[in-house]
């Protein structure tokens, strides 16, 4: 609490002095613009539109509404005559199911046909699309957007204008918008809860932070990508406060919060252990293989050279990926455990989620959003790197967007985002300073003068942007040669993989450097 008060007293003066009226209006304009862009994207097609028999994620979400609304809780995760798990069976944690039930409740009031058991399968109509899109917008406005606004106003350094610029850049990140409002998913909910967790931890409310993060975990199991840093940060704080005294109390409080939250979320399943087991089995489908489709991670990129899936048994694939993931994620987490500062926490979030994305088992291309969120949190400190990464992450999902018929919104946001952020955050002008923060550049490449390094960074950025643009155009315009039908998806995912690997290495180096002195004083208080 004391920490929070000191933080507030520190953040308030610059926030108030720059004419609150002006900041207030700029923030609301940014939020409105973000809503408009989201809604503009949502006017387009969604995944699996008019493609029976399986349709796509849109139908999956609608089907979950149908199932949760019509069946008792005990049957949600079980294969029964009323619940065919092979047709978009529920495979997310209970909070998602409750959310589906809530949406279905509203849907049933508006039009019972939308959620009627069995007969509503594959239901599509403009009114239903409007309803589904609205549910996404509602959750975004309630959960994700407020978290972003508060984060940018309270936990970002700089002038009011700078904070609003960060806010706008973060809200307009195309990847999340295109997946949630184009493809159709509710990533805003889980990412929003995770962001509320980060926000609360940043303000010193440890219990609230763990509550929010537990909710995120219970909404989408993929949030485990972020779990290690959360765990290490909180544990590190407890250790720092002394495990015998205040730290122990803190630890008990946090543990209790997490246990109670999980208990409440799983309450309907707890009485019967077989229920719990079944839910867990549904959430972690180990049998689905090392990777599916073309995803920009290590295994899929290696696949072009070595066919791992045919060499190794599926068990050894699992252990291999587990070993690599831990190897990649642990250093940053241990570093965080030793030095539990907020700065380290943000970096560890990036590194951990990227490690999971690059090396873990059964990764989806959409999981890059989990890495994109913590990268957004670093926009203020590393504008160029972050914009670069965010752009690459949007690009990595190009094959998905093309399949969903989202070419027009993809083009608009793909062009608009780097333009806007580079202008707003003056990313290209700061890249020499960016390098100073990296600090190791001098040690790694002592023969390159710093000015040249900034120039090299800039050109690398331009060339990579051009490469992504060219590959996007080629994927749309050209037919691949008949003997290489997956040529463009592979090229796209490999290119994106290189970017992700580079960013992962960059932020790992940054984390093991001493934080900039100014920063360390501020965050350690």
């Amino acid at each position: 609490m004391k920490l929070f008060l000191s933080l507030v007293s520190k953040t308030k003066p610059p926030f108030l002095s720059l004419r609150v009226m002006q900041t207030w209006s700029l923030v609301s304009i940014s939020v409105l613009l973000a809503v408009l862009v989201r809604w503009g994207v949502s006017l387009n097609s969604y995944s699996g539109a008019g493609k029976p028999p399986m349709f796509g994620d849109y139908e999956a979400q609608r089907h979950w509404q149908e199932v949760t609304y019509n069946l008792p809780v005990q049957q949600w995760y079980f294969n029964t005559s009323d619940n065919d798990l092979n047709y978009w069976g529920l495979d997310y944690p209970p909070l998602t199911a409750y959310h589906s039930w809530l949406c279905a409740y509203v849907a049933n009031i508006l039009n019972p046909d939308w959620v009627e058991l069995h007969r509503s399968r594959g239901y599509e109509s403009p009114a239903h699309k409007l309803f589904m899109r609205t549910t996404v917008l509602v959750t975004d406005v309630l959960i994700y957007i407020p978290a972003v606004v508060l984060y940018c106003l309270y936990l970002t350094d700089g002038s009011a204008k700078r904070r609003v610029s960060i806010l706008l850049s973060m809200l307009l990140y195309p990847g999340l918008i295109l997946i949630d409002y184009g493809h159709f998913q509710y990533n805003g909910v889980s990412l929003g809860f995770a962001l509320w967790g980060v926000l609360a931890l940043g303000l010193g409310w440890n219990s609230l932070g763990s509550l929010a993060f537990s909710l995120a975990l219970n909404y989408k199991q993929m949030e485990l990508y972020h779990a290690l840093p959360f765990f290490c940060y909180l544990l590190g704080k407890c250790i720092k406060a002394g495990l015998i005294g205040r730290g122990f109390v803190l630890l008990v409080k946090i543990t209790a919060t997490v246990l109670v939250t999980f208990g409440l979320c799983w309450l309907p399943f707890l009485p019967d252990p077989s229920q719990v087991l079944q839910v867990v089995r549904r959430i972690f489908p180990v049998a689905r293989g090392l990777f599916e489709d073309k995803v920009a991670n290590t295994w899929c990129s290696l696949n072009a050279l070595i066919k791992i899936r045919s060499i190794l048994t599926s068990d050894s694939q699992l252990y291999l990926s587990l070993a690599f993931t831990l190897l990649a994620a642990l250093p940053s987490s241990i570093r965080l455990l030793m030095k539990p500062t907020f700065w380290n926490f943000k970096l560890a979030l990036v590194n951990s989620s990227l490690a999971f994305f690059l090396f873990s088992y059964q990764v989806h291309e959409k999981s890059i959003l989990l890495a994109a969120l913590p990268v957004c949190l670093l926009l203020n400190e590393f504008p160029l790197m972050c914009v670069w990464f965010l752009q690459a992450s949007t690009f990595s999902m190009l094959p998905l967007f093309l399949k969903d018929g989202l070419l027009v919104p993809y083009t608009v946001t793909f062009l608009g985002f780097p333009f806007l952020t580079v202008y707003l955050l003056s990313a290209l002008e700061d890249c020499s300073e960016d390098e100073l923060k990296l600090g190791t550049s001098g040690k790694l490449f002592p023969w390159i003068p710093k000015i040249y390094l900034a120039c090299i960074m800039k050109w690398k950025f331009y060339i990579s942007m051009a490469l992504m643009a060219v590959l996007s155009v080629l994927s749309v315009v050209m037919d691949p040669p008949p003997h290489l039908p997956d040529l463009f998806p592979v090229l796209v995912s490999t290119t994106a993989f290189m970017h992700f690997l580079g960013v992962f290495l960059h932020f790992s180096i940054v984390q093991f450097m001493e934080p900039p002195r100014k920063k360390s004083r501020k965050k350690n208080n």
Partner: protein, 521 residues
């Protein structure tokens, strides 16, 4: 020079941003105007010139002047490589994804002219000293008010029209006059008249201003006209420009003896006093009063309900209306009212040489007067006043107040244009965004001179918000929805008409007050 170039990078950012933003609405709802323009593409592409204004196989006949038809023909050349099917005359209501993309992009691309014009307008701003912070500069505020104008965005990029292109000509012509490059301004305006004849509304301001300020070079000491300073060469140059533009545009049709046919297409007087939805003008007030009197009369048993003409006015889509109590209004009466309303403004700029700003003020008064009293006015015509008024709004506090009242009411009156549920969020958010920006930015710009709005105006605008909430959200849930489906439209028009009329009167006051000051000197 480098500093000059750099200081405009924000303008590029705004322009690129808004252009991409427009592209987001490619798949949004579009009105029948989309089919109108597709049909014109087909007409101008597949028929010879002599058939353009005779063709009537679609109900959406060509009713814009010839230069616009040529523009459509130019677009059709590009459309041929895109999706040739949209150019077939018999392919009515054709809207393939490629056609939608092409037509939407054509609006976004022709808007480049508007962007250029906005930039020229920003350069004409007079400021004592430019603030360091870009956000607080008048030119920045003006650029946002023009480029991100709510009305233009929804009318052009959702409803579908080419207003941005046309207003580009108007604003560029205004900017040229503000820069005292009168011949260019006149040329641009002549071209504009041949693109869309609705701009005839403001032609009197152009005529009087050019005659007075350009053709007479000197004044008497008291500012009144010195007849001996008449410069015939200047008049000849002006006349030559205007006549040659008209000759280029209408000449071929005169040669083919089709002038009367073209004119009958351009001025369809068979349409009614009010457009499908009432524009918030004097006739909306008049008809509203008529309605109120009729209801009151029936209540007080002064009138028999059966004797009243059927209340067609509330039916929305009617061509002819009959008033129940008050006398019906013939077209001539609307013309007379319009002329009477603009006369004082014209006299004012004729009697004394006034700056280029007074010309802009007079232009605005012409636009507003014809909006208020014209025959069959579209609610979209309010943009003709809102856009040029933005220029004055960033320069003076009083005009900023008028702008806020006029733009808020005028923009709100555009709401019925978008009635589909999916576009609801867009219009509400976009309107909020523009309104919040214009209030805070203009307030910030003139903050040293006190508040922009009088208490009464604040009360009126709060009332507008109440009407908006009642009409958009509460009314659809109420039991009156079935019985009086057009009540919200009526309420919106009448309420907004008050605001527009008020802005008109205040704007008049500013023009005439400058007159008084001059006399006292």
């Amino acid at each position: 020079m480098a500093a000059q170039a750099e200081s405009w990078s924000w303008f590029t950012a705004l322009a690129v941003g808004v252009s991409l933003f427009k592209c987001l609405f490619i798949n949004a709802y579009h009105s029948t105007d989309f089919e109108v323009h597709r049909n014109w593409l087909a007409i101008t592409n597949s028929l010879p010139l002599s058939r353009w204004y005779h063709e009537n196989s679609s109900e959406w006949t060509l009713d814009y002047p010839p230069l616009f038809a040529w523009l459509e023909r130019g677009l059709a050349q590009a459309a041929r490589h895109w999706d040739g099917d949209m150019l077939r005359l018999d392919n009515l209501n054709y809207a393939s994804p490629a056609t939608v993309l092409f037509q939407r992009l054509s609006v976004v691309c022709t808007d480049l002219l508007f962007i250029y014009a906005a930039r020229e307008c920003c350069r004409c701003i007079r400021v004592q000293k430019a603030p360091q912070v870009i956000l607080c500069r008048p030119s920045f505020v003006l650029a946002v008010l023009l480029l991100w104008n709510f009305g233009l965005l929804i009318v052009d990029h959702i409803h579908f029209q080419y207003n941005g292109f046309l207003f580009g000509f108007l604003l560029l012509s205004v900017a040229r006059h503000l820069q005292s490059r009168h011949l260019q301004g006149a040329l641009l305006f002549a071209v504009l008249l041949n693109l869309k004849h609705i701009f005839l509304y403001v032609a009197p301001a152009y005529g009087i201003f050019l005659l007075r300020s350009y053709c007479f070079t000197l004044d008497r000491p008291d500012g009144s006209i010195r007849w001996s300073s008449f410069a015939p060469l200047r008049l000849l140059a002006l006349g030559g420009i205007v006549i040659s533009v008209f000759a280029l545009s209408f000449g071929p049709f005169v040669a083919m003896g089709q002038l009367s046919q073209v004119v009958s297409r351009l001025f369809p007087f068979r349409r009614g006093l009010c457009h499908a939805y009432w524009a918030p003008n004097a006739w909306a007030l008049y008809s509203g009063a008529d309605k109120a009197l009729a209801v009151l009369g029936v209540r007080l048993k002064l009138l028999q309900e059966a004797e009243l003409p059927r209340a067609a006015m509330t039916g929305g889509l009617v061509q002819e209306i009959q008033h129940a109590v008050l006398p019906s209004v013939p077209p001539a009466a609307t013309l007379l009212c319009t002329v009477l309303a603009i006369l004082p403004a014209l006299v004012s700029i004729w009697r004394h040489r006034r700056g280029n700003r007074a010309f802009l003020r007079c232009l605005l008064l012409c636009a507003l007067a014809s909006f208020l009293f014209g025959w069959h006015v579209h609610e979209k015509a309010i943009l003709l006043a809102v856009l040029p008024l933005s220029i004055l709004a960033v320069e003076s506090r009083e005009d900023a107040g008028i702008f806020l009242v006029l733009s808020t009411t005028g923009h709100y009156s555009l709401f019925p244009l978008l009635f589909t549920p999916a576009e609801m969020i867009i219009k509400v958010c976009l309107m909020l965004m523009f309104t919040i920006y214009s209030f805070t930015a203009l307030g910030n710009l003139h903050r040293s001179q006190g508040s922009l709005l009088r208490p009464m105006e604040v009360a009126y605008l709060l009332g507008l918000a109440t009407v908006a909430i009642a009409c958009e959200f509460i009314f659809p849930l109420s039991p009156w929805r079935q019985k009086l489906p057009f009540l919200p439209l009526l309420a919106t028009s009448v309420y907004c008409a008050v605001g527009v009329s008020y802005s008109f009167l205040r704007l008049y006051a500013t023009l005439l007050r400058i007159d008084d000051k001059r006399k006292q000197l």
